[in-house]
């Protein structure tokens, strides 16, 4: 969920809860206030009425007169003694609009001209239902307006405020340590974002530095290793030419030569990888992929014959990729090597080129129920190998992937009907 949506939702929820609480409080306060007012009016009326009747003893007050709002009921003295003044809510039928209306009634016990009376004064009350309705409509409208304008302004402001942040995110998402390109983060007027920007830039710079020195280290180490390797190799070659070599010595020498060769190849491979990463290759060459394929295939004649693999090539007239010729050759070579190496007896290998694509499909060992499963996401990792073959390092596909990436191509692997398919998109 987006931060903006999340905060907006929470704000709206709080708004609703607050609105509910305030509405209830508002209603309670309002109705208490109204009640107080009505009661006050009733009390004042009583006081005024009694004062008037005190001054004008002739005024007719007994009996129920529909012109006034009060009624005096004569009562016994005993009742008068016990009587207490009280305010009550009553409902009175109103024939005009055919409904029961709410009224407030004051019941007082008074003594006028020596006689005891129960005085009832009635005043219309504000109706609760109407009040709630009015409150709901006005408050609801108010809330809706408020919420809407709040939400919109919040969105607009947030969008503006968070814009540099999202820009930064987007740039960081596309940032690649090996591309040797600093992400350009736009400055923000907000201190926190500015601080974040600076911190990220610091981090990026430090990382690039570490990455750079790491790369440099690998390259330097590989370079430095080449001279001693040359010496070992040349000395070994000189040694095997010596006539008095015994069989035992020859065997020992063979082991050393083999290991030196492996070391040499590993060194060469690591050097190649670091060179690709350092982008030391010209990438603007026009590379004829079909020629590379047919030339490379010559090297696999023996393997083809040894395993009786049927190789089918279906190529377009011309497939020209833009990239580096040498790297393309290594890419094709590594894919073919892989396809032959993991093939089975009487297997097959289909090579196909079409619309800027190279597809290499080969049969392979059947999946074992137990044992290691080919982990697709690790397939292009360095030093990942499924076979226990000690003669491979699992660097071939890593290099192929790196080459594709450097040239701006994509290399994919998929499995269809027991066929292992590698597809290079030279797009």
């Amino acid at each position: 969920m987006k931060l903006l949506t999340y905060t907006s939702r929470i704000q709206i929820l709080y708004f609703l809860i607050l609105f509910g609480i305030f509405s209830i409080l508002f209603y309670l306060v309002l109705s208490w206030n109204v009640l107080q007012n009505v009661d006050e009016v009733l009390y004042n009326r009583k006081v005024n009425l009694l004062a008037y009747l005190q001054d004008n003893p002739d005024a007719p007050f007994k009996g129920d007169n529909p012109l006034d709002d009060f009624t005096f009921y004569p009562i016994e003295e005993a009742v008068f003694q016990r009587g207490k003044e009280s305010y009550t809510d009553i409902l009175i039928y109103e024939p005009v609009d055919n409904e029961l209306d709410e009224y407030r009634k004051l019941t007082a016990f008074v003594k006028l001209q020596g006689k005891h009376y129960r005085l009832e004064i009635v005043k219309p009350h504000l109706e609760a239902a109407e009040m709630i309705g009015t409150i709901a409509i006005t408050l609801g409208g108010l809330l809706l307006g408020l919420a809407l304008s709040f939400y919109l302004s919040h969105r607009i402001i947030s969008k503006k405020i968070w814009k540099p942040f999202f820009e930064m995110l987007e740039k960081l998402r596309h940032f690649r340590l090996d591309k040797q390109q600093l992400p350009e983060l736009s400055t923000s007027p907000i201190d926190e974002f500015q601080l974040l920007n600076e911190t990220i830039m610091d981090l990026v710079l430090k990382n690039m530095e570490v990455f750079e020195s790491q790369k440099q280290f690998i390259e330097n180490a590989s370079h430095e290793m080449q001279t001693p390797l040359s010496v070992i190799q040349s000395r070994l070659e000189a040694l095997i030419g010596q006539a008095e070599l015994t069989k035992e010595q020859a065997e020992i020498l063979e082991g050393i030569i083999g290991s030196t060769q492996r070391l040499k190849k590993l060194n060469k491979t690591l050097l190649l990888l670091s060179k690709i990463e350092n982008r030391q290759f010209l990438l603007a060459e026009q590379v004829d992929v079909n020629t590379i394929i047919s030339r490379s295939l010559e090297y696999y004649e023996e393997q083809k014959a040894a395993l009786n693999i049927s190789v089918k090539t279906k190529t377009q007239n011309r497939l020209v990729a833009q990239g580096n010729a040498m790297l393309t050759e290594i890419l094709v070579q590594n894919l073919l090597k892989n396809a032959f190496l993991h093939n089975v007896e009487d297997g097959m290998l289909n090579i196909q080129t079409q619309d800027n694509k190279l597809i290499i499909a080969n049969t392979g060992h059947e999946k074992q129920k137990k044992g290691p499963v080919l982990e697709k996401n690790k397939l292009f990792n360095r030093f990942y190998k499924q076979s226990g073959n000690p003669d491979t390092w699992g660097l071939g596909l890593a290099i192929a992937q790196k080459i594709a990436e450097t040239n701006g191509w994509s290399l994919h692997y998929r499995e269809v009907d027991d066929l292992h398919i590698f597809e290079v998109d030279f797009g």
Partner: protein, 227 residues
């Protein structure tokens, strides 16, 4: 023919010296940039084996001096830096070849022989070994003359010429396999293939009546010998 070896690593220099004397070259050697500069200003060399990284200077500066004199013909660069820029720069300055360390002497030898052939006149281009005659431009091999040439596959031809180029030494099967298959094929597999290639090669040579023999030195390497 005189050769100059410029290499600062003593062990490698020793190997190179052993190698060129075995091949019958007259040679001088220099381990530093300054002494190398002196030598090229004083003497004339037919071939120069040049290491690019020297402790007191760059081999490229030497190459440039040679280039100004028009004497870069016959220079083989040895470098620990297999970068394309270096290669292009070296070859651009007129160097004949570029080898990356670590290299096999058999490979260096093949490169030197190729340069020698290129320098020689066309009539002299045929390579003779025992009763074998080889025409490198057309990949032809015959007995005594090229009339009845023996048909070899590309790889058999490559193995045979590589063995003949290096007939003075034993070529390890590792270097031979690398020469033929490069990085394309895994080593362990390539040994089997090499074995069968050489078996076919031997059979064809024998059938044609070539007076050569390919010795297998306890499975470590091969050497061609005249009978």
């Amino acid at each position: 023919m005189k050769l100059l070896i410029i290499e600062d690593e003593p062990q490698l220099l020793k190997s190179l010296e052993d190698f060129v004397s075995e091949e019958g070259f007259v040679f001088d050697s220099a381990t530093r940039f300054q002494s190398a500069m002196e030598r090229i200003s004083l003497y004339e060399y037919d071939y120069i084996i040049l290491d690019i990284n020297l402790p007191d200077g760059s081999g490229f500066d030497l190459l440039e001096t040679l280039f100004k004199k028009g004497k870069t013909d016959g220079v083989i660069i040895l470098s620990a830096r297999n970068s394309l820029d270096d290669k292009l720069k070296g070859l651009g300055l007129g160097a004949d070849d570029y080898l990356t360390k670590p290299f096999y002497f058999s490979e260096l030898n093949a490169r030197i022989k190729a340069i020698i052939r290129r320098k020689q006149f066309k009539t002299n281009k045929l390579v003779r070994y025992a009763n074998l005659v080889i025409e490198p431009d057309q990949y032809l091999v015959g007995i005594d003359d090229l009339e009845n040439n023996i048909s070899f596959t590309k790889k058999e031809y490559a193995i045979l010429t590589h063995l003949i180029n290096n007939h003075k030494r034993v070529i390890s099967k590792v270097s031979l396999a690398e020469y033929i298959w490069g990085d394309y094929v895994d080593e362990a597999q390539s040994f089997d293939f090499l074995f069968s290639q050489i078996r076919n090669l031997k059979r064809k040579l024998k059938e044609a009546g070539a007076q050569v023999e390919i010795d297998n030195i306890y499975g470590v390497g091969y050497q061609i010998k005249t009978l």
